[in-house]
């Protein structure tokens, strides 16, 4: 039923009915935004979610419906978020290099106020715990716990075996619980 509705919308969009894309956005905006929020954080989530839909629109003619549309959409969304995080990490490394260059290899010390604020922020929410996890663990945990994908769907979406889904999810949850415990100390 849901896939039939998606297929009908895709057909319209491929035939040039751009307006039909609005229905597709409306249908998936909550899930995509939610994933972005959990993966890249509130500051970049909206922009990331918009960019994901734009990528989908631009490549929709290439989608041959060999998998479900929702699986393809989430795959694009997941890759986009992982790319953003990788880019962020590169930029962070670059800025750290810049600081080290300007301070002659010495890192400025955090003041006690900085530490307190940082700790408060760490305790604040699940999102901050997610932010401390490895990207791939964070992704699989969000897809399972927030988006509610089954193990089988996760194998298709992440293109990994069922055993790997089980192991990765197990490790992700262990990391989550460990970080949560550390934050509460």
């Amino acid at each position: 039923m849901a896939e039939g509705f998606d297929s009908a919308l895709l057909e319209k969009i491929k035939n040039g009915e751009t307006g039909a894309f609005a229905s597709l956005v409306k249908r998936y905006q909550q899930k995509v935004y939610q994933l972005c929020l959990s993966m890249v954080g509130p500051a970049e989530a909206e922009d990331a979610a918009q960019s994901i839909f734009i990528s989908i629109y631009q490549s929709i003619r290439k989608f041959e419906e060999r998998s479900q549309f929702s699986t393809w959409l989430y795959r694009v969304a997941a890759n986009h978020c992982l790319n953003l995080l990788a880019k962020r990490k590169r930029e962070k490394t670059d800025s750290l290099d810049l600081i080290l260059k300007h301070t002659g290899g010495q890192l400025p010390e955090l003041t006690s106020a900085d530490v307190t604020l940082a700790r408060l922020a760490e305790k604040e929410s699940v999102r901050s715990i997610l932010g401390k996890m490895a990207e791939e663990e964070r992704l699989i945990l969000c897809l399972r716990e927030i988006e509610g994908f089954s193990y089988q769907e996760l194998t298709e979406l992440l293109d990994i075996s069922l055993d790997l889904v089980k192991v990765r999810l197990f490790r992700a949850r262990k990391s989550f619980m460990r970080i949560a415990k550390e934050s509460n100390k």
């Binding site: 939610q34 929020l37 089980k166």
Partner: protein, 147 residues
Amino acid sequence: MEHESYLLLTHAYFDGELDASASRELERHLLGCPDCEAELDELKNARANFAALAKAPVPFGFKEKVMRRVWDLAPSPAPKERGHWLDWLGLPAWELAAALSVTLLVGFYFAFDYASARTQRSENALQISLGYDSAGDYAMEETNDEL
């Protein structure tokens, strides 16, 4: 089975991804393993935390913002290839053929009707000029009688 394997199974069990026989085996194990039981409780707590995350509302006007960007990107419709001259009428060939047939039939009908009416009028005019009335033959007989 080693304890680590049971821990792994606990997660799949928690997700409802174990088949019936594996579930039964794990349930038997859980009765005698406080570690796995504690793991299951932790999983329940962790899931409760995620429940709050799943309700974050989408920013106001999100769909409209996406569609504005989409409309900016949308390519103008590709010009159609120049086709058969009949295409210009914007109708499929069979519809054109049907319309043409009906037009011709109606045309023939009116043309025939007009021609018949005209012949009739000519005959009437001839009869009048010859002194016949609308009774035609009867008038002729009377004329013959008079002669």
